[in-house]
Protein backbone atom coordinates (compact mmCIF):
# COMPACT_ATOMS: atom_id res chain seq x y z
CA UNK A 1 0.00 0.00 0.00
CA UNK A 2 2.92 2.37 0.70
CA UNK A 3 3.76 2.20 -2.97
CA UNK A 4 0.37 3.62 -3.87
CA UNK A 5 1.07 7.29 -4.33
CA UNK A 6 -2.10 8.10 -6.27
CA UNK A 7 -4.41 7.72 -3.26
CA UNK A 8 -2.73 10.42 -1.14
CA UNK A 9 -2.48 12.72 -4.17
CA UNK A 10 -6.19 12.32 -4.93
CA UNK A 11 -7.10 12.89 -1.31
CA UNK A 12 -4.76 15.87 -1.12
CA UNK A 13 -6.27 17.52 -4.18
CA UNK A 14 -9.79 17.03 -2.88
CA UNK A 15 -8.93 18.30 0.59
CA UNK A 16 -7.13 21.19 -1.07
CA UNK A 17 -10.42 22.44 -2.51
CA UNK A 18 -11.73 22.73 1.04
CA UNK A 19 -8.52 24.39 2.25
CA UNK A 20 -8.84 26.98 -0.49
CA UNK A 21 -12.39 27.66 0.66
CA UNK A 22 -11.11 28.06 4.22
CA UNK A 23 -8.53 30.58 2.97
CA UNK A 24 -10.96 32.53 0.80
CA UNK A 25 -12.41 34.67 3.58
CA UNK A 26 -9.01 35.43 5.08
CA UNK A 27 -7.70 36.44 1.69
CA UNK A 28 -10.72 38.63 0.96
CA UNK A 29 -10.63 40.52 4.27
CA UNK A 30 -6.92 41.12 3.84
CA UNK A 31 -7.23 42.07 0.19
CA UNK A 32 -10.02 44.59 0.72
CA UNK A 33 -9.46 45.96 4.23
CA UNK A 34 -5.72 45.19 4.66
CA UNK A 35 -6.76 43.47 7.88
CA UNK A 36 -5.12 40.26 9.06
CA UNK A 37 -8.12 38.59 10.65
CA UNK A 38 -6.58 36.46 13.38
CA UNK A 39 -10.09 35.35 14.34
CA UNK A 40 -10.75 33.81 10.92
CA UNK A 41 -10.02 30.24 12.06
CA UNK A 42 -12.30 30.62 15.06
CA UNK A 43 -15.06 32.05 12.91
CA UNK A 44 -14.71 28.99 10.67
CA UNK A 45 -15.07 26.82 13.82
CA UNK A 46 -18.11 28.89 14.79
CA UNK A 47 -19.55 27.97 11.39
CA UNK A 48 -18.84 24.30 12.14
CA UNK A 49 -20.56 24.54 15.54
CA UNK A 50 -23.47 26.34 13.90
CA UNK A 51 -24.06 23.41 11.58
CA UNK A 52 -23.46 20.97 14.43
CA UNK A 53 -26.16 22.72 16.46
CA UNK A 54 -28.55 22.82 13.50
CA UNK A 55 -28.07 19.07 13.06
CA UNK A 56 -28.21 17.94 16.70
CA UNK A 57 -30.83 20.38 18.00
CA UNK A 58 -33.11 20.84 15.01
CA UNK A 59 -32.31 17.63 13.18
CA UNK A 60 -31.68 19.51 9.93
CA UNK A 61 -29.11 18.20 7.49
CA UNK A 62 -26.02 20.45 7.76
CA UNK A 63 -25.91 21.15 4.01
CA UNK A 64 -29.59 22.19 4.04
CA UNK A 65 -28.88 23.96 7.32
CA UNK A 66 -26.57 26.37 5.47
CA UNK A 67 -29.79 28.24 4.70
CA UNK A 68 -29.75 29.15 8.41
CA UNK A 69 -26.01 29.34 9.19
CA UNK A 70 -24.93 31.30 6.11
CA UNK A 71 -27.21 34.34 6.70
CA UNK A 72 -26.36 34.19 10.41
CA UNK A 73 -22.59 34.27 9.74
CA UNK A 74 -23.09 36.99 7.12
CA UNK A 75 -24.76 39.16 9.77
CA UNK A 76 -22.05 38.40 12.32
CA UNK A 77 -19.45 39.51 9.76
CA UNK A 78 -21.25 42.78 9.10
CA UNK A 79 -21.58 43.46 12.83
CA UNK A 80 -17.87 42.77 13.42
CA UNK A 81 -16.85 45.15 10.66
CA UNK A 82 -19.40 47.80 11.53
CA UNK A 83 -19.05 47.97 15.30
CA UNK A 84 -15.48 46.76 15.89
CA UNK A 85 -13.15 47.02 12.91
CA UNK A 86 -14.31 50.22 11.27
CA UNK A 87 -13.97 51.98 14.65
CA UNK A 88 -10.62 50.31 15.33
CA UNK A 89 -8.94 51.45 12.09
CA UNK A 90 -9.45 55.07 13.15
CA UNK A 91 -7.33 54.41 16.27
CA UNK A 92 -4.32 52.95 14.48
CA UNK A 93 -2.98 50.10 12.39
CA UNK A 94 -2.47 47.74 15.35
CA UNK A 95 -5.95 48.18 16.85
CA UNK A 96 -7.84 45.93 14.37
CA UNK A 97 -5.17 43.25 14.80
CA UNK A 98 -5.55 43.29 18.59
CA UNK A 99 -9.34 43.31 18.30
CA UNK A 100 -9.18 40.30 15.97
CA UNK A 101 -6.99 38.50 18.50
CA UNK A 102 -9.42 39.35 21.29
CA UNK A 103 -12.31 38.18 19.17
CA UNK A 104 -10.49 34.90 18.58
CA UNK A 105 -10.19 34.31 22.36
CA UNK A 106 -13.81 35.27 22.98
CA UNK A 107 -15.14 32.91 20.28
CA UNK A 108 -12.94 30.05 21.53
CA UNK A 109 -14.19 30.45 25.08
CA UNK A 110 -17.78 31.00 24.09
CA UNK A 111 -17.66 27.76 22.08
CA UNK A 112 -16.19 25.97 25.12
CA UNK A 113 -19.04 27.21 27.29
CA UNK A 114 -21.75 26.40 24.75
CA UNK A 115 -20.43 23.15 23.32
CA UNK A 116 -17.89 21.92 25.96
CA UNK A 117 -14.19 21.32 25.14
CA UNK A 118 -15.01 17.78 23.94
CA UNK A 119 -14.20 16.87 20.34
CA UNK A 120 -17.20 16.92 17.99
CA UNK A 121 -17.96 15.82 14.47
CA UNK A 122 -20.85 16.58 12.15
CA UNK A 123 -22.07 13.09 11.33
CA UNK A 124 -24.55 12.47 8.58
CA UNK A 125 -25.48 9.37 6.60
CA UNK A 126 -23.28 10.38 3.68
CA UNK A 127 -20.27 11.41 5.78
CA UNK A 128 -19.51 7.71 6.24
CA UNK A 129 -20.02 6.74 2.57
CA UNK A 130 -17.31 6.17 0.03
CA UNK A 131 -16.93 6.38 -3.73
CA UNK A 132 -14.73 4.69 -6.30
CA UNK A 133 -12.29 6.38 -8.62
CA UNK A 134 -9.33 4.86 -10.56
CA UNK A 135 -10.01 1.60 -8.74
CA UNK A 136 -9.60 3.24 -5.35
CA UNK A 137 -12.16 3.61 -2.62
CA UNK A 138 -12.20 7.08 -1.07
CA UNK A 139 -14.45 8.88 1.44
CA UNK A 140 -17.36 10.56 -0.31
CA UNK A 141 -17.04 13.62 1.93
CA UNK A 142 -13.65 14.42 0.34
CA UNK A 143 -15.32 14.60 -3.05
CA UNK A 144 -18.02 16.88 -1.63
CA UNK A 145 -15.30 19.07 -0.09
CA UNK A 146 -13.67 19.51 -3.47
CA UNK A 147 -16.88 20.17 -5.37
CA UNK A 148 -18.07 22.71 -2.81
CA UNK A 149 -14.65 24.42 -2.83
CA UNK A 150 -14.68 24.74 -6.62
CA UNK A 151 -18.31 25.85 -6.84
CA UNK A 152 -17.99 28.51 -4.14
CA UNK A 153 -14.78 29.86 -5.70
CA UNK A 154 -16.43 30.05 -9.14
CA UNK A 155 -19.53 31.78 -7.78
CA UNK A 156 -17.34 34.24 -5.88
CA UNK A 157 -15.25 34.96 -8.97
CA UNK A 158 -18.35 35.61 -11.08
CA UNK A 159 -19.82 37.79 -8.32
CA UNK A 160 -16.65 39.89 -8.15
CA UNK A 161 -16.51 40.24 -11.93
CA UNK A 162 -20.11 40.69 -12.96
CA UNK A 163 -22.03 42.59 -10.30
CA UNK A 164 -21.73 46.23 -9.30
CA UNK A 165 -21.15 45.27 -5.68
CA UNK A 166 -18.57 42.65 -6.58
CA UNK A 167 -16.73 45.07 -8.83
CA UNK A 168 -16.86 47.69 -6.07
CA UNK A 169 -15.26 45.22 -3.66
CA UNK A 170 -12.45 44.54 -6.18
CA UNK A 171 -12.11 48.26 -6.84
CA UNK A 172 -11.81 49.08 -3.14
CA UNK A 173 -9.14 46.38 -2.85
CA UNK A 174 -7.15 47.77 -5.78
CA UNK A 175 -7.37 51.49 -5.01
CA UNK A 176 -9.44 52.75 -2.08
CA UNK A 177 -9.03 56.42 -2.93
CA UNK A 178 -10.03 55.98 -6.55
CA UNK A 179 -13.02 53.87 -5.56
CA UNK A 180 -14.22 56.65 -3.23
CA UNK A 181 -13.91 59.08 -6.13
CA UNK A 182 -16.11 56.77 -8.23
CA UNK A 183 -18.87 57.29 -5.69
CA UNK A 184 -18.41 53.98 -3.88
CA UNK A 185 -19.40 54.12 -0.22
CA UNK A 186 -16.27 52.24 0.85
CA UNK A 187 -17.39 51.95 4.47
CA UNK A 188 -20.47 50.02 3.40
CA UNK A 189 -18.52 47.95 0.90
CA UNK A 190 -16.25 46.89 3.79
CA UNK A 191 -19.28 45.66 5.77
CA UNK A 192 -20.37 43.52 2.85
CA UNK A 193 -16.84 42.25 2.18
CA UNK A 194 -16.55 41.01 5.77
CA UNK A 195 -20.05 39.54 5.59
CA UNK A 196 -19.22 37.68 2.37
CA UNK A 197 -15.96 36.42 3.88
CA UNK A 198 -18.07 34.98 6.70
CA UNK A 199 -20.38 33.25 4.21
CA UNK A 200 -17.34 31.36 2.91
CA UNK A 201 -16.27 30.69 6.52
CA UNK A 202 -19.69 29.20 7.33
CA UNK A 203 -19.51 26.85 4.33
CA UNK A 204 -15.87 25.95 4.98
CA UNK A 205 -16.60 25.29 8.66
CA UNK A 206 -19.52 23.03 7.85
CA UNK A 207 -17.52 20.84 5.49
CA UNK A 208 -14.40 20.83 7.71
CA UNK A 209 -16.68 19.69 10.53
CA UNK A 210 -18.01 16.85 8.39
CA UNK A 211 -14.47 15.85 7.35
CA UNK A 212 -12.51 16.17 10.60
CA UNK A 213 -13.35 16.14 14.30
CA UNK A 214 -13.06 19.60 15.83
CA UNK A 215 -12.85 21.28 19.24
CA UNK A 216 -13.31 24.91 20.33
CA UNK A 217 -9.56 25.45 19.83
CA UNK A 218 -9.40 23.99 16.30
CA UNK A 219 -9.49 27.56 14.99
CA UNK A 220 -5.72 27.83 15.29
CA UNK A 221 -5.23 24.86 12.97
CA UNK A 222 -7.80 26.20 10.50
CA UNK A 223 -6.15 29.64 10.58
CA UNK A 224 -2.78 28.02 9.85
CA UNK A 225 -4.30 26.12 6.93
CA UNK A 226 -5.82 29.35 5.60
CA UNK A 227 -2.54 31.25 6.00
CA UNK A 228 -0.69 28.36 4.34
CA UNK A 229 -2.93 28.39 1.26
CA UNK A 230 -2.67 32.17 1.00
CA UNK A 231 1.12 32.21 1.45
CA UNK A 232 1.68 29.44 -1.09
CA UNK A 233 -0.77 30.85 -3.61
CA UNK A 234 -0.11 34.52 -3.12
CA UNK A 235 -2.53 37.11 -1.80
CA UNK A 236 -5.13 38.79 -3.89
CA UNK A 237 -5.53 36.20 -6.60
CA UNK A 238 -8.45 33.83 -6.33
CA UNK A 239 -6.79 31.31 -8.66
CA UNK A 240 -3.61 31.55 -6.58
CA UNK A 241 -5.49 30.86 -3.36
CA UNK A 242 -7.21 27.88 -4.98
CA UNK A 243 -3.95 26.37 -6.26
CA UNK A 244 -2.32 27.20 -2.92
CA UNK A 245 -5.00 25.17 -1.17
CA UNK A 246 -4.50 22.22 -3.53
CA UNK A 247 -0.71 22.27 -3.09
CA UNK A 248 -1.15 22.45 0.66
CA UNK A 249 -3.52 19.51 0.63
CA UNK A 250 -1.22 17.36 -1.51
CA UNK A 251 1.87 18.23 0.54
CA UNK A 252 0.00 17.29 3.69
CA UNK A 253 -1.29 13.93 2.46
CA UNK A 254 1.99 12.99 0.76
CA UNK A 255 4.10 13.77 3.80
CA UNK A 256 1.65 11.81 5.97
CA UNK A 257 2.00 8.97 3.47
CA UNK A 258 5.80 8.90 3.44
CA UNK A 259 6.74 10.25 6.86
CA UNK A 260 3.70 9.44 8.98
CA UNK A 261 0.83 11.50 10.28
CA UNK A 262 2.97 13.25 12.89
CA UNK A 263 5.19 14.78 10.23
CA UNK A 264 2.49 16.23 7.98
CA UNK A 265 2.11 19.63 9.63
CA UNK A 266 5.88 19.88 10.19
CA UNK A 267 6.63 19.44 6.48
CA UNK A 268 3.96 21.99 5.70
CA UNK A 269 5.44 24.61 8.02
CA UNK A 270 8.93 24.04 6.62
CA UNK A 271 7.66 24.50 3.07
CA UNK A 272 5.83 27.69 4.06
CA UNK A 273 9.01 29.01 5.72
CA UNK A 274 11.13 28.24 2.65
CA UNK A 275 8.55 29.90 0.42
CA UNK A 276 8.40 32.99 2.64
CA UNK A 277 12.20 33.27 2.46
CA UNK A 278 12.53 32.90 -1.30
CA UNK A 279 9.21 33.90 -2.79
CA UNK A 280 7.26 35.93 -0.25
CA UNK A 281 4.68 37.02 -2.82
CA UNK A 282 3.64 33.37 -3.22
CA UNK A 283 3.92 31.06 -6.21
CA UNK A 284 1.18 32.80 -8.18
CA UNK A 285 1.27 36.22 -6.56
CA UNK A 286 2.33 39.42 -8.21
Amino acid sequence: MSGDILTPILMGVMLGGLYALTALGLSMVFGVMRLINLAHGDLVVLGAYGSYAVLTMLGIDPILGLVITVPLMFCIGILIQKYLMSKAVTIGAEAPLIIAFGLSLIIQNANQIMFSPQSRGINTAYSQMSFHIFGRQLPLIYLLDFIVGVVVMLIMQEFLKRTYMGRAISAAAQDTRASKLMGINTKRIYYYAFGIAMISAAIAGTFLGMTFPFTPTSGTTFLTIAFGAVIIGGLGSMMGTFLGGIILGVVQTLSAHFLGANAQMLVLYVIILILLAFRPQGLFGR
Binding site: D175, K180, L181, M182, G183
Partner: protein, 239 residues
Protein backbone atom coordinates in the same frame (compact mmCIF):
# COMPACT_ATOMS: atom_id res chain seq x y z
CA UNK B 1 -29.47 81.37 -14.32
CA UNK B 2 -26.37 81.41 -16.44
CA UNK B 3 -24.82 84.08 -14.23
CA UNK B 4 -25.09 81.91 -11.11
CA UNK B 5 -21.92 79.77 -10.80
CA UNK B 6 -22.32 75.98 -10.81
CA UNK B 7 -19.73 75.72 -8.02
CA UNK B 8 -19.11 78.39 -5.44
CA UNK B 9 -16.40 78.15 -2.81
CA UNK B 10 -16.49 80.75 -0.04
CA UNK B 11 -13.66 81.40 2.43
CA UNK B 12 -12.67 77.81 3.14
CA UNK B 13 -9.86 76.65 5.42
CA UNK B 14 -8.72 73.05 4.96
CA UNK B 15 -6.37 71.13 7.23
CA UNK B 16 -4.61 68.13 5.79
CA UNK B 17 -2.43 65.78 7.85
CA UNK B 18 -2.17 68.22 10.76
CA UNK B 19 -1.26 71.39 8.90
CA UNK B 20 -3.26 73.93 7.05
CA UNK B 21 -3.22 73.37 3.30
CA UNK B 22 -5.83 75.91 2.23
CA UNK B 23 -6.28 79.40 3.65
CA UNK B 24 -9.51 81.37 3.37
CA UNK B 25 -9.90 80.41 -0.27
CA UNK B 26 -12.77 81.56 -2.43
CA UNK B 27 -13.41 80.79 -6.07
CA UNK B 28 -16.20 79.88 -8.44
CA UNK B 29 -16.72 77.80 -11.55
CA UNK B 30 -19.35 78.96 -14.03
CA UNK B 31 -21.82 76.86 -16.00
CA UNK B 32 -20.33 75.37 -19.13
CA UNK B 33 -16.86 76.82 -18.89
CA UNK B 34 -13.39 75.28 -18.83
CA UNK B 35 -11.77 76.71 -15.73
CA UNK B 36 -8.11 76.08 -14.96
CA UNK B 37 -6.26 75.86 -11.68
CA UNK B 38 -2.58 76.71 -12.01
CA UNK B 39 0.07 76.39 -9.33
CA UNK B 40 3.27 74.75 -8.14
CA UNK B 41 3.42 71.22 -6.80
CA UNK B 42 2.52 71.78 -3.14
CA UNK B 43 0.20 74.72 -3.72
CA UNK B 44 -2.84 72.77 -2.52
CA UNK B 45 -4.55 72.05 -5.86
CA UNK B 46 -5.18 68.37 -5.20
CA UNK B 47 -6.30 69.11 -1.65
CA UNK B 48 -8.76 71.63 -3.07
CA UNK B 49 -10.20 69.11 -5.55
CA UNK B 50 -10.45 66.49 -2.79
CA UNK B 51 -12.27 68.99 -0.61
CA UNK B 52 -14.78 69.76 -3.35
CA UNK B 53 -15.20 66.00 -3.73
CA UNK B 54 -15.81 65.44 -0.02
CA UNK B 55 -12.67 63.39 0.66
CA UNK B 56 -11.58 66.27 2.95
CA UNK B 57 -13.95 68.67 4.67
CA UNK B 58 -13.31 72.38 5.18
CA UNK B 59 -13.02 73.52 8.80
CA UNK B 60 -14.46 76.88 7.86
CA UNK B 61 -16.40 78.34 4.93
CA UNK B 62 -18.78 76.73 2.49
CA UNK B 63 -18.88 74.95 -0.86
CA UNK B 64 -22.09 75.26 -2.85
CA UNK B 65 -22.87 73.12 -5.90
CA UNK B 66 -25.93 74.16 -7.94
CA UNK B 67 -27.30 75.99 -4.94
CA UNK B 68 -26.78 73.14 -2.45
CA UNK B 69 -24.22 73.24 0.38
CA UNK B 70 -22.04 70.17 -0.15
CA UNK B 71 -19.23 70.91 2.30
CA UNK B 72 -20.40 68.28 4.82
CA UNK B 73 -21.38 65.56 2.30
CA UNK B 74 -19.45 62.33 1.71
CA UNK B 75 -17.77 61.56 -1.64
CA UNK B 76 -20.43 59.02 -2.69
CA UNK B 77 -23.14 61.64 -2.19
CA UNK B 78 -21.21 64.33 -4.04
CA UNK B 79 -20.43 62.07 -7.00
CA UNK B 80 -24.11 61.21 -7.24
CA UNK B 81 -24.97 64.93 -7.34
CA UNK B 82 -22.79 65.27 -10.43
CA UNK B 83 -19.21 66.14 -9.51
CA UNK B 84 -16.57 63.69 -10.63
CA UNK B 85 -12.80 63.77 -10.30
CA UNK B 86 -10.17 62.34 -12.62
CA UNK B 87 -7.40 61.99 -10.05
CA UNK B 88 -3.72 62.80 -10.45
CA UNK B 89 -1.79 59.80 -11.71
CA UNK B 90 -5.06 58.50 -13.22
CA UNK B 91 -5.48 55.83 -10.54
CA UNK B 92 -7.22 53.30 -12.75
CA UNK B 93 -8.05 49.93 -11.26
CA UNK B 94 -4.95 48.16 -12.58
CA UNK B 95 -6.25 44.58 -12.51
CA UNK B 96 -9.49 45.47 -14.27
CA UNK B 97 -10.16 45.70 -17.97
CA UNK B 98 -10.83 49.02 -19.70
CA UNK B 99 -14.50 48.10 -19.82
CA UNK B 100 -14.69 47.28 -16.10
CA UNK B 101 -12.90 50.53 -15.27
CA UNK B 102 -15.49 52.41 -17.30
CA UNK B 103 -18.34 50.53 -15.64
CA UNK B 104 -16.93 51.42 -12.22
CA UNK B 105 -17.33 55.05 -13.28
CA UNK B 106 -21.07 54.50 -13.53
CA UNK B 107 -21.41 53.18 -9.98
CA UNK B 108 -23.72 55.79 -8.46
CA UNK B 109 -27.52 55.37 -8.79
CA UNK B 110 -27.79 58.41 -11.05
CA UNK B 111 -24.94 57.26 -13.29
CA UNK B 112 -26.26 53.70 -13.65
CA UNK B 113 -29.41 55.02 -15.28
CA UNK B 114 -27.34 56.62 -18.04
CA UNK B 115 -24.72 53.90 -18.39
CA UNK B 116 -25.35 52.93 -22.02
CA UNK B 117 -25.64 56.51 -23.22
CA UNK B 118 -22.40 57.48 -21.48
CA UNK B 119 -20.56 54.43 -22.72
CA UNK B 120 -21.47 55.43 -26.26
CA UNK B 121 -20.29 58.96 -25.54
CA UNK B 122 -16.92 57.73 -24.24
CA UNK B 123 -16.40 55.48 -27.27
CA UNK B 124 -17.28 58.39 -29.58
CA UNK B 125 -14.75 60.54 -27.77
CA UNK B 126 -12.02 57.86 -27.68
CA UNK B 127 -12.69 55.32 -30.47
CA UNK B 128 -9.46 53.58 -29.49
CA UNK B 129 -11.00 52.45 -26.20
CA UNK B 130 -13.72 50.53 -28.00
CA UNK B 131 -11.10 48.26 -29.57
CA UNK B 132 -9.19 47.97 -26.32
CA UNK B 133 -12.11 47.35 -23.97
CA UNK B 134 -10.89 43.90 -22.92
CA UNK B 135 -7.31 45.02 -22.21
CA UNK B 136 -6.11 45.25 -18.59
CA UNK B 137 -5.70 48.88 -17.55
CA UNK B 138 -2.19 48.37 -16.17
CA UNK B 139 -0.86 47.26 -19.56
CA UNK B 140 -1.73 50.53 -21.31
CA UNK B 141 0.49 53.51 -22.06
CA UNK B 142 0.20 56.73 -20.05
CA UNK B 143 -1.80 58.51 -22.72
CA UNK B 144 -4.22 55.62 -23.15
CA UNK B 145 -4.63 55.40 -19.40
CA UNK B 146 -5.51 59.08 -19.26
CA UNK B 147 -8.19 58.47 -21.89
CA UNK B 148 -9.62 55.65 -19.77
CA UNK B 149 -9.46 57.87 -16.68
CA UNK B 150 -11.32 60.71 -18.38
CA UNK B 151 -13.76 58.23 -19.87
CA UNK B 152 -14.33 56.68 -16.45
CA UNK B 153 -15.02 60.17 -15.11
CA UNK B 154 -17.59 60.84 -17.85
CA UNK B 155 -19.34 57.56 -17.05
CA UNK B 156 -20.42 59.16 -13.76
CA UNK B 157 -22.74 61.36 -15.83
CA UNK B 158 -21.17 64.50 -14.33
CA UNK B 159 -22.29 68.09 -14.54
CA UNK B 160 -18.82 69.13 -13.39
CA UNK B 161 -15.73 67.10 -14.19
CA UNK B 162 -12.50 67.93 -12.33
CA UNK B 163 -9.32 66.73 -13.99
CA UNK B 164 -6.20 66.78 -11.82
CA UNK B 165 -2.83 67.19 -13.58
CA UNK B 166 -4.51 66.67 -16.91
CA UNK B 167 -1.41 66.39 -19.10
CA UNK B 168 1.36 65.66 -16.60
CA UNK B 169 3.88 63.14 -17.92
CA UNK B 170 2.21 62.74 -21.33
CA UNK B 171 3.86 63.10 -24.74
CA UNK B 172 3.21 66.46 -26.51
CA UNK B 173 1.07 64.87 -29.22
CA UNK B 174 -1.13 63.23 -26.57
CA UNK B 175 -1.33 66.52 -24.68
CA UNK B 176 -2.78 68.16 -27.81
CA UNK B 177 -5.30 65.36 -28.12
CA UNK B 178 -6.36 65.66 -24.48
CA UNK B 179 -6.87 69.42 -24.87
CA UNK B 180 -9.02 68.77 -27.93
CA UNK B 181 -11.07 66.36 -25.86
CA UNK B 182 -11.50 69.09 -23.27
CA UNK B 183 -13.29 71.23 -25.84
CA UNK B 184 -15.48 68.33 -26.93
CA UNK B 185 -16.50 67.63 -23.33
CA UNK B 186 -17.29 71.30 -22.86
CA UNK B 187 -19.33 71.32 -26.07
CA UNK B 188 -21.50 68.56 -24.57
CA UNK B 189 -22.46 70.91 -21.77
CA UNK B 190 -20.21 69.46 -19.07
CA UNK B 191 -18.40 72.07 -17.00
CA UNK B 192 -14.67 71.42 -16.62
CA UNK B 193 -12.29 72.37 -13.82
CA UNK B 194 -8.78 71.24 -14.56
CA UNK B 195 -5.37 71.42 -12.94
CA UNK B 196 -2.42 72.05 -15.21
CA UNK B 197 1.30 72.70 -15.07
CA UNK B 198 1.47 73.63 -18.75
CA UNK B 199 0.62 77.32 -18.27
CA UNK B 200 1.21 78.52 -21.82
CA UNK B 201 -1.13 75.94 -23.28
CA UNK B 202 -3.67 76.32 -20.50
CA UNK B 203 -4.02 80.06 -20.94
CA UNK B 204 -4.68 79.44 -24.62
CA UNK B 205 -7.35 76.79 -24.11
CA UNK B 206 -9.17 77.66 -20.85
CA UNK B 207 -11.92 80.24 -20.43
CA UNK B 208 -10.78 81.38 -17.04
CA UNK B 209 -8.05 80.48 -14.60
CA UNK B 210 -7.06 80.73 -10.95
CA UNK B 211 -3.46 80.85 -9.82
CA UNK B 212 -2.98 79.19 -6.45
CA UNK B 213 0.10 79.55 -4.24
CA UNK B 214 0.56 77.92 -0.80
CA UNK B 215 -3.14 77.39 -0.39
CA UNK B 216 -4.30 80.85 -1.44
CA UNK B 217 -5.62 82.23 -4.72
CA UNK B 218 -3.15 84.91 -5.77
CA UNK B 219 -4.55 85.78 -9.18
CA UNK B 220 -7.66 85.07 -11.18
CA UNK B 221 -9.35 86.21 -14.34
CA UNK B 222 -10.13 85.25 -17.89
CA UNK B 223 -7.35 83.44 -19.68
CA UNK B 224 -6.88 86.52 -21.85
CA UNK B 225 -6.45 88.80 -18.86
CA UNK B 226 -3.95 86.47 -17.26
CA UNK B 227 -1.93 86.13 -20.45
CA UNK B 228 -1.45 89.89 -20.45
CA UNK B 229 -0.68 90.08 -16.75
CA UNK B 230 2.83 91.31 -15.98
CA UNK B 231 3.47 88.86 -13.10
CA UNK B 232 2.18 85.87 -15.03
CA UNK B 233 4.35 86.73 -18.02
CA UNK B 234 7.41 86.96 -15.79
CA UNK B 235 6.72 83.83 -13.80
CA UNK B 236 5.50 81.50 -16.55
CA UNK B 237 6.36 82.89 -19.97
CA UNK B 238 9.85 84.15 -19.13
CA UNK B 239 9.33 87.58 -20.69
Amino acid sequence: MQSEPILKIQNIDVFHGGFQAIWDLSMEVRHGEACALIGANTAGKSTLLDTINGVNHPSKGSITFMGEDISRLEPFEIVDLGITQVPEGRRLFPEMTVMDNLIMGSYTPNARKHKDKNLQRVFDLFPKLKDRQKQLAKTMSGGEQQMVAIGRGLMANPKLIMIDEMSLGLAPIIVDEIFKTLHKIKAQGVTVLFVEQNVVKTLKEADRAYIIETGKITLSGTALELRDNEDVRKAYFGV
